[in-house]
């Protein structure tokens, strides 16, 4: 019974992986792709790994550790990616109406010139 429950939890996580990949293909610009590509995979991997832990109890400690590790590191990489994409925001064609980062930081305002020079 616990095996079937764990396999069903893993199935829900895998469906979140598939939804995330479909969102990566269909979303219109880089920032919305970033939203589906990081949030949905975080939830999907947590469900997939916890499901494996429920299915095989001797794997539970390591899969919970791995799920916590992914839950901690995936927002960090998403944040770094969003800051990098903010430097290219003119060329990406994204609509950023309330842009607090551009208003706040003179460093972020000078980043596109550096990035275009580096290309």
């Amino acid at each position: 019974m616990a095996e079937i429950l764990g396999a069903c939890i893993s199935l829900v996580g895998a469906v979140f992986f598939l939804l995330s990949a479909i969102g990566l293909l269909r979303m219109p610009d880089a920032f919305t792709r970033m939203q589906t590509g990081t949030k949905a995979t975080t939830l999907g991997s947590i469900l997939f790994l916890i499901g494996i832990g429920v299915m095989r109890p001797d794997y539970l400690g390591r899969t919970v550790l791995l799920a916590g590790f992914i839950a901690l590191t995936n927002p960090v990489s998403s944040n770094a990616l969003a800051r990098a994409a903010h430097g290219f925001r003119k060329r990406l064609g994204a609509r950023l109406e309330p842009d607090a980062l551009a208003a706040d930081e003179p460093i972020a305002a000078s980043a596109p010139q550096e990035a275009e020079h580096g290309d």
């Binding site: 996580g13 990949a21 995979t41 991997s45 997939f48 494996i52 794997y59 990489s77 430097g87 550096e114």
Partner: protein, 86 residues
């Protein structure tokens, strides 16, 4: 029964990995490709754990942990490079 459901779940995750690799191949900007690479890293980490279940060897869970660490470091390094800070 449980093995069948888990095989279906692994197949769906592999399908998601393939669809994300389409975005990796045709993403118009480098940021799109790195977002797809990040999603593929997370899905591949979960698939390595699924392979550990199928093969019955617990050492592959440790392999998945190391792969997740290296993938995270790689994505952050790519992002810092695009930002111009590396």
């Amino acid at each position: 029964m449980a093995n069948g459901i888990f095989s279906v779940a692994t197949g769906i995750a592999i399908l998601g990995l393939l669809l994300a690799s389409v975005r990796l191949a045709k993403g118009p900007w480098a940021v799109d490709r790195i977002v797809a690479l990040d999603a593929m890293t997370i899905i591949a980490t979960s698939l390595i754990v699924a392979f550990a279940v199928f093969s019955g060897r617990r050492i592959y869970v440790d392999v998945a942990m190391v792969y997740g660490l290296v993938g995270f470091a790689g994505v952050v390094a790519f992002a810092r490079y695009l930002e111009g800070g590396l």
